[in-house]
Amino acid sequence: MTSPGTSTFEGGDVLSLENVCAAYGPYRALFDVSFRVPAGGIVALVGSNGAGKSTVARTVTGLVTATSGRIVFSGHDVTTMPAFRIARLGMAHVVEGRGVFSSLTVEENLTLAFRQRAGRKLLAGNLERAYTAFPILGERRRQMAGNLSGGQQRLLSLAKVLVVPPHVLVADELSLGLAPVVVDTVYEGLREINRNGTALIVVEQQVSRVLQLAGWAVVLDRGAVAYEGEPAGAGEAVEAIMSQREEAASSHI
């Protein structure tokens, strides 16, 4: 099933980046990054630490405003749009690390997301689905999210997007700090919402796993695209960058 809003734009791409540059204050982080996400597709964004993966994710969802270039999402130019408008167009972002409001309860965290995304009428049902999918959240619904363990907080931020699937989900370092058994569940959840029409951008450090999932891969190095293509070739590209780094490091010392 394809959600109504994701009909074909620009040859079937739900999201496209053209020569996007971004910076944190004086520090430039992205240089002319371009790639596309087909409707209902899965793109893996890989690269070493500091390659700019998270920055790409944040630029796409509007947390960081691009300094130049163009980002088009569902037919709208979202380059300079504030993050909340992009979110209302159907973008979701599971941020790296803690992505929950620690001073709100588990239920309030979910309510905040569901009210905005799915409306008031569906709230009760959505909460119920979230608690069914992640029983631990149901047990702790009255607890402050800040008192959950690191991994449970990740589950909470995932529950927000898995229960009410967006058009595009940007998932930043999902498996970080999760036990292998949970990682399996999470990846299964991603596959499922993808089958229901959600396009995914998956940012990962652990290359092998995400490349099995993705249909397309983008490898970043020092803020620029180093490789774009079939996932099969991505592993090789990452290795090449690594060995380059190593050489550079050893000559440095």
Partner: protein, 662 residues
């Protein structure tokens, strides 16, 4: 029993007034993340405008209410958010505190600048439903008039409405989310900036409403009354851990009732009556901070997306190329030599004393650099330390005929001891908690130590005969003794601060600003480091206080009240809190500007204009947390470097390794 209620009931209108403000304070904190010290000042401003319009301009109460509360309140709140608080990163608690403090200092000083000095009495009232002069019924022997009914009913309505907003509406939920992270809440599709702006509008409307409603309860129309109102409200809000609206309201009413009850039972001549009753709110604040564990956790929740903010810029000194650094350093020494020579030769007496005052003030301000700039802790009682030392020295001179310089050493030592006690009491407090604790300490000293006639000789203060000043005993140099004394003390203090910064303690303090957890995990005793810094900062403030006293030949309690402590922090933060030059520039700048303002007509506000200038200068803190002078210095440094060396061709550092992205 009837006796008791006869004392207790009159406290209820006061208690309800405190409750309205306390509840609004908690709402502001929950919905905007800012502890709005300026809330009382905002209320005062609205009440001021309302009274001005009705009394001096003959407006009807309704029209004046529209302008002063319905229009002015929200407009001020909107401006606060747009111009100030929106630009402060969520994680920067100090910046939020400093901005609200400078508003607290600036707003009451701004009013006379705009409207001129006005004599107003707050008789005009707009109690909407009940007539204050009518006794509606009698309850256990106490006549209940319109004031009781209106304050009580307004409080109840406000409490219910705000609780409903915050706890049970989607908007309240969004506000609470936005306080924790404006970015994260946007990812849920919430217009974070809009929500927070709305929160400010609601909060400022409440301030205006509270001001206009409460002015008649207090009779006399002074800024001090509103400050007292805020302080009591703060006490109640703190007891509610800045979270629970009903508890805040309950405690506020209790404080009101306790005050009138104590006043009823105690003899007006007893010590408790004159000392404890006025100090009640501060005792409540101190007690809450000491015994409610939840206060320690305040301000601890951080924005998970804070790393998106660009890293703070390096200081001007750190950004300079080595060659430029040498030039700047040399020119500082040249400037110092020229200043030194000029002070001894051609500078007229008036201006010499201005500079002397500036240097004495700089010494006090150095203590702020130490505690706020280096240790990262906001202390709001540095003026109190200075005052303790000043009065100790002055009384020793008065009673024992002791030279002020020797007495000053005793005074500084006593200030250090008080600072250590305060540090011990507040070992577990950080950020807002510490700021409140030190503010309460300052207020406590104002209402006890500084108002005790035996110590401060009343409002006139202790004047000093010149033979006690001791300057002549140490230097005898054509009337420049004071200058030489001032500059030597300042120089010693500067070196002390520089040595500490360079040394182990300074490094540990810098590390503690980064992560206290990790510092403790390395085996460093955080408490000891803090106590040492407090002691040193207290002593330096004390020395500065004595210098000011010697310069003015007068120790006056009004020079060291809590407002001055706030002004000191604001002054240093405006210039540059992280550098030693910042304190000196602030001190001398303040003295010079104050002198310059005596040349313009007093109807433009006179001395309060200085405070307005610095207070609103401090608002630049939002945009430049490093201090506006520091910012200008960095800019001009870069400019001159480009001009002279043409080597630093402004290449943006390509940093693929910035911590900001993963």
């Amino acid at each position: 029993m009837e006796h008791f209620f006869g004392f207790a009931f009159p406290g209820i209108p006061y208690g309800c007034s405190y409750a309205i403000v306390a509840v609004s304070l908690v709402l502001t904190y929950q919905a905007t993340g800012v502890f709005n010290f300026a809330f009382g000042a905002q209320a005062f401003a609205s009440a001021f405008v309302f009274t001005l319009l009705t009394q001096n301009h003959g407006w009807s109460g309704f029209a004046a209410f529209l302008v002063s509360v319905v229009v002015m309140g929200p407009a001020v709140g909107f401006a606060f958010d747009r111009l100030l608080f929106r630009h402060i990163p969520n994680s920067n608690g100090t910046a939020k505190l400093v901005c609200s403090l400078s508003l607290l200092v600036g707003i009451p000083s701004l009013l006379p600048v705009i409207f001129g000095q006005q004599k107003l009495d707050a008789t005009a009232t707009i109690f909407p439903f009940f007539n204050p002069n009518v006794v509606y019924f009698t309850l256990i022997g106490t006549p209940i008039n319109g004031i009781y009914l209106s304050t009580f009913s307004v409080t109840a309505v406000v409490l219910v409405a705000l609780t409903a907003l915050l706890r049970y509406t989607n908007l309240g939920l969004q506000m609470r989310g936005a306080v924790e992270s404006r970015r994260l809440v946007q990812l849920d599709g919430v217009n974070a900036n809009g929500v927070v702006a709305l929160a400010w509008v609601v909060s400022s409307f409440m301030a205006g409403l509270a001001g206009v409603l409460l002015a008649p309860v207090f009779g006399a129309f002074t800024a001090d009354n509103f400050a007292a109102l805020t302080v009591t409200a703060i006490a109640a809000a703190v007891c509610a851990l800045m979270r629970s609206l009903p508890i805040a309201a309950g405690v506020a009413v209790l404080i009101g009732v306790a005050t009138t009850t104590l006043q009823g039972y105690l003899s007006p001549n007893s010590i408790i009556y004159s000392a404890v009753v006025p100090a009640l709110p501060f005792l409540v604040i101190v007690g809450a901070l000491l015994f409610l564990p939840g206060m320690r956790a305040l301000e601890s929740s951080r924005d998970p997306l804070a790393t998106i903010d660009p890293p703070p810029p390096p200081t001007a000194a750190g950004a300079r190329a080595p060659k430029m650094d040498r030039i700047v350093r040399t020119s500082w020494w040249v400037l110092l030599a020229v200043f030194f020579a000029s002070m001894l030769t051609w500078i007229p007496v008036t201006w010499e004393s201005v500079f002397n005052y500036g240097m004495a003030l700089s010494t006090v301000l150095l203590s702020v650099t130490l505690i706020t700039g280096m240790a990262g802790q906001l202390s709001l009682c540095q003026g109190t330390f200075a005052g303790i030392s000043a009065f100790t020295a002055a009384q020793m001179a008065n009673h024992l005929g002791l030279n002020m310089l020797l007495g000053g050493l005793f005074g500084a030592a006593l200030a250090a001891v008080v600072a250590v006690v305060l540090a011990l009491l507040s070992l577990r407090l950080r950020g807002l908690g510490l700021a409140l604790m030190t503010l309460a300490a300052a207020l406590l000293f104002d209402s006890t130590f500084f108002s005790a006639v035996s110590i401060t000789a009343g409002v006139e203060g202790v004047s000093l005969q010149s033979k006690w000043l001791g300057t002549s005993a140490f230097f005898n140099f054509d009337g420049h003794a004071l200058f030489l004394l001032g500059i030597s003390v300042l120089a010693v203090c500067v070196f002390v601060v520089l040595l500490v910064r360079k040394g182990t303690v300074g490094r540990n303090l810098a590390a503690m600003r980064g992560s206290e957890t990790a510092v403790a995990g390395l085996g460093i005793n955080l408490s000891r480091q803090r106590i040492m810094v407090f002691a040193l900062s207290g002593a330096i403030a004390g020395l500065g206080g004595v210098l000011v006293t010697i310069q003015q030949q007068l120790a006056s309690p009004s020079d060291w009240n809590y407002q001055y402590s706030l002004v000191f922090v604001v002054l240093v933060v405006t210039t540059s809190v992280s550098t030693v030059e910042g304190a000196i520039q602030a001190g001398i700048g303040f003295a010079v500007i104050q002198q310059l303002l005596t040349y313009i007509p007093s109807r433009f506000g006179g001395p309060s204009l200085t405070i307005v200038l610095f207070a609103f200068g401090a608002l630049t803190y939002a945009a430049h947390p490093e201090g506006v002078l520091e910012y200008q210095k960095r800019r001009s440094t870069l400019y001159f470097e480009k001009l002279f060396f043409r080597q630093n061709e402004g290449k943006p550092s390509d940093v693929s390794t910035t911590g900001a992205h993963g």
